[in-house]
Amino acid sequence: MLEKTPLRTEVRSCEPGTVLLVLTGDLDYDTAAELVAAAQEVLGGGVSRLDLDLSGLDFVDSSGLAALINVYNVAREQEAGLRIVALTSYLRHLFQVTALDHIFELPA
């Protein structure tokens, strides 16, 4: 991990009222705030559902998980739905270890 991959967030709108955020790179201590800022901006625009595509994330640390929880809380405040539509097996394991699979809606 000498060369860190920066986090990239891409916003896509598929259907009215729904926004898809595609994350790639590292979601960690250095980049966690970027995700929260991006999600706040999207949710502030009054969408009814936010979908997260996490399949492009190489690495997520505890700060990254904290950022995802923050996004979840922001979505709840805005009464918007939050779904994780894609993720890697490493992330699924991480969600299971932290029992976050109980609160996040994960794809089958």
Partner: protein, 579 residues
Amino acid sequence: MTTARSAGQGTRSGGGEAPAGLHGEVRGGSHGGLRAGLCDDPPDGFQDDAARVPDEALLRAVVDACGEGVVLCDAGQVVARNAAAARMLPAARPGTAAASAGEALSDPGHPEGESREVAVAGRRLLVRRESFGTRHRAWYLRDVTAEHARTEALLAERRRTGFLLEAGRRLASSLNPRRCARAAVELACPFLADAAMVVLPPAARRQAPWLRSVPGRPVMQEGVIGPAEVAQVPGLTEALAGFPPVPSRWLDPAQVPEWLLPEGFGVAAHLLVTPLPGNGVPAGALVLARGAGGEPFDEETETLVRVFASRAGAAISAAALYQEQGETNAILTGGLLPPRLPQPAGAELAGSLRAAQQTSLVGGDFYDVCLPGGEAAGGEAGGEALLVLGDVCGKGARAAVLAGQVRQSLRALLLLERRPGRLVALLNRCLLASAVPNSFVTLVLGSLAAAAGGGVRLELVVAGHPPPLVLRADGTVEEVASRGSMLGAMREVVLEPVTVELAPAEVCLFYSDGITEAFGGPSGREMYGGARLKTALAGCAGMPASAVVERLEQLSTEWLAGRVQDDRALLAVRAKGVR
């Protein structure tokens, strides 16, 4: 002359311009003769040599117009001099002995044709002697007073620059206020003054510490002075209060108290007191004294001292701030450092904590062990010891503070609740109520009790953390089958308390994800992973707990090969054999 002419002919250039140039330089000379004798371009190159000899008046005019002084002596008597020589060396009048003009016209032993520099009545002269025949000597004088002054100014400027560079280098080399003050004193004396003293701002009981040096004595003198003594030194009270410095001539050296100067210094002839400006607050004052016979502090020196004082002040002030913060840090981190592990009944414990930010020594990983009835009871009273290893969100000091809060909260909650599952749920509610944003924590918490038939029983709760590993007596390694929510995120937590029995010599290992998610290895990009950790732990069968932790920590460090990115924590519990 012949050579010059043939050269001129050879190049065939500027023949028409040369006379005009010479005309301009000669004042009061015989133009006709000059033209005839020196400058007419010979039309054919066969002009008669006799026509070229200039008359005496012309020669005199040429010599008089020369910027260089010329004094001609005949057997030690001055016989002629030009206007420039009369200006530079008025004493060398024709008819007087050359020696009476002093050093300028007397240089026994100095080689002919070589210049030497002589100081005459406030001028600097460059003097050269040439002999003509056995009797005549000519002295050539050049006034280099202005050049000399410029050179001297340049050298002085260079010395000042060099001094400031050296000052910058030495002052920056320490983060200890006393050593900075000492460097300032050593720099100031003897370059700036015969005696130098730095007085630091008054500290405890309004006593101001001071340092003093005397040239020729290696030992630095130190002491403290009270407000009464400070008031005795002209300008010192003001300087210590940070008022701008006053010129040295305004300070009366006669008022200098005896104690200010080193023993045997005599009276101070000149005094300069300069404040050391710090970061917002004065960092002290610099007292400089020159003894009897010393030059007064001129304006340039006073400017230099002010520049020097600002550097010294900044260094001392930064060092004082650093020391203060260091002391505060030591107090704060003292409570955040890993605890000394007590040894509960029936088990031996060992832990290791490596912060990613080595300089801070603290990080977001933590472990703690609480014995029943507190440390004083020594754990021998029976009951259950509580073990916890966790990881708070974030890095560095901020994470360390949260980790400290979690440890403290657990100790407080432990007074009310000892069942691991309920304890962790309570901790979750504490974290949700915390004012610190992102108070997310993952941890493993276990309550340890000696089992009836030897060995120990661990009741474990895993909250969003990698589950512990168990090293069995036969060398196999199992992962504890339990998981649960990370804490501080949700109001409701899901936990699956589980009980693990350890037979004598079996080990249960708590670890943080900094161990398994360490990127390194041969490629530098490979994750250490749970499988490698299990294999490494299997290789530790039969080792005491401290050796297990040491071995795993060493393997992890080797894997990282210096590329430390995350805090790493290990805590091992080993069941003791039956005695």
